[in-house]
Amino acid sequence: MLKTDLIHKSPVSKTIGIENVKDGRFGAVLSRAGVGKTSFLVQIALTQLLSDEKILHISLDDSIEKINLRYSDGYTNLVDSIGYVDPQKAVRLWEDINLNKVGISYTEATFDTEKIKDYLKSFKKANLALPSLMIIDGLNFDNNLSTVLDELEQLNQEFSIFTWFSMRSHREEDLCEDGFPIQLETYKDRFEKAVFLQPVEDKIEAVILKDSNRTHQRNRLDPATMTIVK
């Protein structure tokens, strides 16, 4: 019951749509630095954890402690957003779903899709359920990432794993003709979904840049908690 309530309250259900999170190959959350890409990605991952799916969170910026902290904060914010919840129930649920999350911290130099592949293979070997969603946070899309994205597409096919990326845009750069930041424009054919986060007044606006019929939808989020503001 609590699971369903939390999924329903998630900012992801209003913006992307829960059923839509793993539809396709790649998704991206874009914004300039410090707006809340990682927090939003964590909310996406939480919806899967709450649906009893496994997730893999790879970060090129955060240490493992930081990743864990982001998830527990994200969960707490989500719980707080539905008003009163039996704290013991909430803690028990967190202890359950947290086991399905694996965080891996790389640096730009040590990030290697082969390592991810090795890891995913080990699930098959041990006959375990594979993670259904992978978050890759901190890849620099100002660089040429064609090869990496090719390799990740192969992983997507081999292991049926959908990947969400964070994509950092820059304040000084103009948007392209179709309204995409340049980082997305370069790889737009590979991404089925893209959410752009931008500060508007004292809130954050989540604009769907790419997602068939949801495109151009806008929702306002609380910058502190990433929850939907009415």
Binding site: V102, G103, I104, T107, Y119, S122, K125
Partner: protein, 692 residues
Amino acid sequence: MIRDLEKVRNIGISAHIDSGKTTLTERILFYTDRIHKINEVRGKDGVGAIMDSMELERERGITIASAATYCEWDKHNINIIDTPGHVDFTVEVERSLRVLDGVVLVLCSVSGVQSQSITVDQQMKRYKVPCIAFVNKCDRSGANPVKVSSQLKDKLGHNSVMLQLPIGLEDNHEGIIDLVTMKANYFEGEHGERMVIKDIPEQMMADAQTAREEMIDAVSLFSEDLTDAILEEKEITEELIMTAVRTGTITRQMTPVFLGSAYKNKAVQPLLNAVINYLPSPLDIENEALDMDNNEESVILESRFDKPTVALAFKLEDGQYGQLTYIRVYQGCINKGDTLINSRDGKKFKAGRLIRMHSSQMEEVEAIPAGHIGAMFGIDCASGDTFVSPTINYTLIAMHIMEPVISLSIVPKDNKAQINMSKALNRFTKEDPTFKTYVDHETGDTIIQGMGELHLEVYVERMKREYDAEVSTGQPRVAYRETITRKGLFNYIHKKQTGGSGQYGRVAGFLEPCEEEFEFVNKVTGGRIPTQYISACEQGFKACMDKGPKLEFPVTGIKVTLEDGAYHAVDSSDMAFKSAARGGFLEAYAKAKPVIKEPIMKVVIETPNEFQGSCMGLINQRRGIIQGSQEEGVMSVVESQVPLSDMFGFSTVLRSATQGKAQFTMEFSTYKQVPQSVAEEIARKKQEEKAK
């Protein structure tokens, strides 16, 4: 022994396995003239380091028991405890920390803060032990002391402040720059025994000045005089800085960081100066005891020699001259021939031979005054006992001891081995509270219990070597537990009439899960069970906890609420109510959805990056849950939670999967319910065993 306690330091050297702490201790003893020849830990000379006195330690290149030793430096008396680095022996580390006033935390300049350093750090926090850090192995390829210092901040939350800069790193490591004196220190002579002080090399001057400014800025928080001197732009003397660092360190608000290479004989002497200058003397530390005659009121002990004696036995060793008991005296003074009382059992004894240890060599002394560490011969006691003067009845606060999680059956090869084995077990259980032993009445086997596979392996090996007790071992067994998951009601009448006086007792109430091991609540009103039988009921329920009805594992986490009952004026007895309680327990237990719980271990693997994927795979194959993985330079750290039952033989598997390049540590984390399929497997095995 020095009686001016300002000039006494009781320190430990703690670190992750293979960080070089035994090598460092060896160098300290060399420079302080306690030994005349340096032996390497796994030296080609086949001698092994002095501190690793057990044969087994020398062979494996690890330190198992903490050997105590002392040395003198700059007219100060330093007592050193060399603590083991492997997590299976943590009780040794804990006992050492209890009696120490300060610690040198040794970190590897390549690997940085590793899992064991985190465990040791938690223990230091528990016992509030101040520390200084020594970043060792600066001569190694990939050395980066600045990174290690920042890891101390990020991973352990220390306010680390570097008081030195390296002059060259890796192959070019020549010495250090002391940021307090602003001088360069070099180490000359065959074993670096001559410390040569020179001016800072010109090309490093700018860096040194910046680092000094940063250091003074950080340190000024702990001294108003220093802050004033900075604000008023007065001269900042060495003394001002040193006083501030000392205050910050003793209050555990900062951790000064030193560096060098013990193996290459670089910068050990400045570290010794730091021990004197920055770590606390016994006078700086407040120690508490509990007054047993005064409702266990906490009493502050004073390091004065004229007060009644209070001392703690923190380690036992059985040597060729009988049992050697290591003690730390907190108050008063133990003189040869003094009468003391062991506050645990109230037994009186006379202090016989008193000695001061230098690893396994000993030196006889007349007295061990407050603030010092020494040893006594011929005392029959257990580790953790408190010795006091007959005028007082204090006990030092009990140490945090963990319950064993693994057991192994051992069978002596012959009669001689049987006798020697019991001698060995008797000694080991006294020495190490996490090592336990009992005889399984059903199989007649002797069972040993401990904190991990290696822990038990070492004791089996020691039995062979030190006691000539050849034993064969069975399969290691996991300490499973049973518990209930919901409320279960009972209403049981125990009635027997077999001639003579009968037995009658009725108990009613419920069992429910709880956090405590066992809880008993009496809610019987109106004398339906007379008060004199209530404790028999409690005993009856408690007796059921030893062997669970489901699979005969010990039961934990049960709250019994007794609400109602009945008795018979003639036929009721303690025995009848005990039996009624047992019947009630069995009745409710079956309804309360019992489950099996297993110990889950926190497993941390450190592996070269290229094997990260395979290591994570190994965990996956063992019902493990990976909590995360982090890459640090060329190494990756994989943290996970794995059931202990799936960890047997893991070291061999890990070695073969990583070409022997990865290592792992394992420690108990929690008990968790086993999945249904595993529970069935356990039940099947148990059945098979019974059938045998």
